[in-house]
């Protein structure tokens, strides 16, 4: 190696050292912009994507306890005040719209709230049973539900008790409006998340 080669080596090593020492400053001045999102999931009895119904039978009877676990993951890069609103729908009532981020017009009968820290996953039990139904002709109406030991009056009907669904919507507190909104801003577009599980109701013989 001649002197010119050594000079090149010296300059290269100096530049690398300057670059390494500048990285922490750059990371503070220009923080990493990861895609922000929320995730919402519903798991069965054993915290797995199975055994959603008692005896794996989606035909639910009065008094049968259904054990679900609902999870929310916060990847928004900051703390978030969120609410999971639960709605009982039949097949004809309108679902939330994922593309336009419009929630279902049906009012929520139950709500869970939490302030999630960055990258936190929050799991909570959603144990429910039907405590009262009404049967008129071919139509079965769910009139009373017990959710996590809270009794609630409802009025949702379905022909032959088929195709009821429990809808979980994630609402996020919006700093600008001061209200919970069924949408959040994610890299220049609005996003929303919801989930649903279908079931039927059978009457006792």
């Amino acid at each position: 190696m001649n002197l010119d080669d050594y000079r090149t080596l010296f300059v290269a090593v100096s530049l690398v050292l300057i670059l390494v020492s500048t990285v922490p400053v750059i990371s503070v001045v220009m923080p990493r912009n990861a895609e922000p999102f929320f995730a919402l999931g519903v798991l069965g009895e054993n915290m797995m994507a199975e055994q959603y119904y008692p005896d794996d039978d989606p035909n639910i009877r009065n008094g049968s306890l259904v054990r679900w676990h609902v999870g929310v993951y916060n990847h928004m890069g900051s703390i978030q005040y969120v609410a999971v609103r639960v709605k009982l729908l039949n097949s004809t009532l309108p679902s939330p719209n994922s593309s336009s981020c419009v929630p279902s017009i049906v009012p929520a009968f139950f709500e869970f709230r939490r302030v999630l820290v960055k990258n936190e996953t929050w799991w909570f039990p959603f144990y429910w049973s039907i405590s009262e139904t009404d049967h008129q002709g071919d139509v079965i109406t769910i009139t009373e539900l017990i959710v996590n030991n809270v009794t609630l009056k409802l009025d949702v009907r379905a022909v032959s008790g088929f195709n009821f669904r429990m809808v979980f919507e994630l609402w996020v507190h919006d700093e600008a409006t001061g209200n919970f909104e069924f949408t959040w801003e994610s890299t220049q577009k609005s996003s929303c998340v919801w989930n649903q599980i279908w079931f039927n109701v059978t009457l006792p013989k």
Binding site: I18, E111, V115, E175
Partner: protein, 179 residues
Amino acid sequence: MHKHKLLMHTPSFLRILLVLALLFIFASSPFVVKSYESIGEDSFSSAIDRAEGVVVSAYRVVLEAERVGADISGLADQLSVAAGLLVQAHFQYEAGNFSGAVYFAGQCYGIGEGVETEAYGLRDRAAVDGVQRFWLMIMAWVISLVVIICGGFFGWRIFKRRYHRKILRLKPEVSSSES
């Protein structure tokens, strides 16, 4: 005389009785109860609204504290408890248990206020710490740049001098080319 006096006062006595009876009827009428209930309902509902407002404003301060680099995990947990109590208050209110609603709203309000106060302190401390940390980092960066550049410059000069000395110390080898 006494009997005569009594008789003279009878109509006014009856009038007073009648007024009292009417007052009693109105006082015990369902609509007085109703109006009392509506006033009560409003105040219960405003107790929930107040609690809701405190949780939201505490959340905002916690968010600000997080932005300036404070560790807010403990405050977030407390706020979650307050949010849970708020949901309970709403349930109680919708079930018609107004005293229960006020109880949960009050509990929520207390926690929310505590979190807000604590978050303000945490935010201010973290802001000062953050500015100090930032300038310390900038100073450390500038010092490291100076060390690298000066070290490189002087290192190179020393190296060059040694290199030249080494070259001059080399003994030239004379080789014959008689062939």
